[in-house]
Symmetry: D2
Subunit: 141 residues, 4 copies
Amino acid sequence: MATVKQSSNRSFSWQVRVYYEDTDAGGVVYHSQYLNFMERARTEWLRQLGFEQTYLRDEQNVVIVVYSAQLDFKKPAKFNDLLTITSEVVKIGRSSFEVAQTITIESTILVQGLVKLACVNPHTFRPVAIPSEIITKMEQL
Amino acid sequence: MATVKQSSNRSFSWQVRVYYEDTDAGGVVYHSQYLNFMERARTEWLRQLGFEQTYLRDEQNVVIVVYSAQLDFKKPAKFNDLLTITSEVVKIGRSSFEVAQTITIESTILVQGLVKLACVNPHTFRPVAIPSEIITKMEQL
Amino acid sequence: MATVKQSSNRSFSWQVRVYYEDTDAGGVVYHSQYLNFMERARTEWLRQLGFEQTYLRDEQNVVIVVYSAQLDFKKPAKFNDLLTITSEVVKIGRSSFEVAQTITIESTILVQGLVKLACVNPHTFRPVAIPSEIITKMEQL
Amino acid sequence: MATVKQSSNRSFSWQVRVYYEDTDAGGVVYHSQYLNFMERARTEWLRQLGFEQTYLRDEQNVVIVVYSAQLDFKKPAKFNDLLTITSEVVKIGRSSFEVAQTITIESTILVQGLVKLACVNPHTFRPVAIPSEIITKMEQL
């Protein structure tokens, strides 16, 4: 279950269902799993902008890697919850950009994150410029 | 990205997108991850039948556990693939049932599985009868 | 925490600690996670025989993939349990072999599995012969 | 493979082997997996201090949850790497404490993290005081 929700100009929303695989014996979503949810949302945001990451990797020689993440876990998500993840680009550099992401359930904020990403060459892991077509799309947001 | 696809009387289809988290350094989906995909599909099949597992656990004192799985990995799924998982109940007992599951991409079979499930008490893990309302729904399939 | 335990001629034992990441909201180890534990044990068994999988992949052009798994989940493992995984080669073919694996805690069997593995080329995923040095070692068991 | 390495007064080291399950199709460890490695190291550090988390949960009614994490991913770890995770308590409050953690391979820093943890009641998730026996042990570090 995951559909595109209404998005403002600058933010993109994506829904993720919590399955047993995402939870731990504390009865809640295991903390590192929120990073996975956030990457799913960024992947779908790029897809909505028109960029398949397989295209970026295979045709443009670019993969996008996380080089920093700041996460604040405010309330736990539970099994079967339907979470909404909002993603907003807050900074764009030459080869890196930053995305503020929030995980909510019925307007209660569960997790807030700031994820810093870099475009790198898939073979050398060296930084490369963000493809100009992505920059253009991001600046239209 | 995951929507209900056309289902025959007796089978239910669910789509799952492959993200980086699902893959390994061999470039393909890590083998145990297919069991997770299969559980997502069974969860959504139960939901479509009208059964939230939180309701089953909290109101009916029933959780559904896997007690056996036979998996045949025929071809690998890759990053960004959109997989279809079909699930079909092939046997119903008093406290257990069996689901044949197939993971395909564009009609190519990647993984075939037979998953045997039991209804158990969430506290004692002892077998309990499948709730009659589920039996009724399954037999209507 | 994971050390080599006494092994008989034909079987290899490896210990795995259960962390929160391995469990689910049912309070027990999530079922697909046992496949991960089994692969850890096979990896360490190969290492003990003298084969690093990075060497096999980079020098011998061989990766080992799971093409079939039969799993019987008998009793659940719980958070903080120290599990013992035994692995025994039960069949050796030209490009494939089968390993019987058992996960126990204090001599209680929790999970039994039969995992069928194939040697494949890392680029084409086509079957290749098991490296003769591995065959030799396996037959010495 | 995971053994206690020499630890200074105030820091604890723990080794973790990278298996296929930890990697992604980029050929490196998937970024959220480092949070799992860090929790394994904290769990073993607590165990070395004399505290099983099952004891804390069942006898003391205390579980330890992550409420904030700052992660800097500097270099990628790869399949089969043997990583060392060092953990050092840098701040102790009434119900919360902070641990600086570093993941290295052969003295190269791969990941640096600051993880903030809180002691909570396992049923209400409300903050409770850090058990005094843990405080005592931490202050002896």
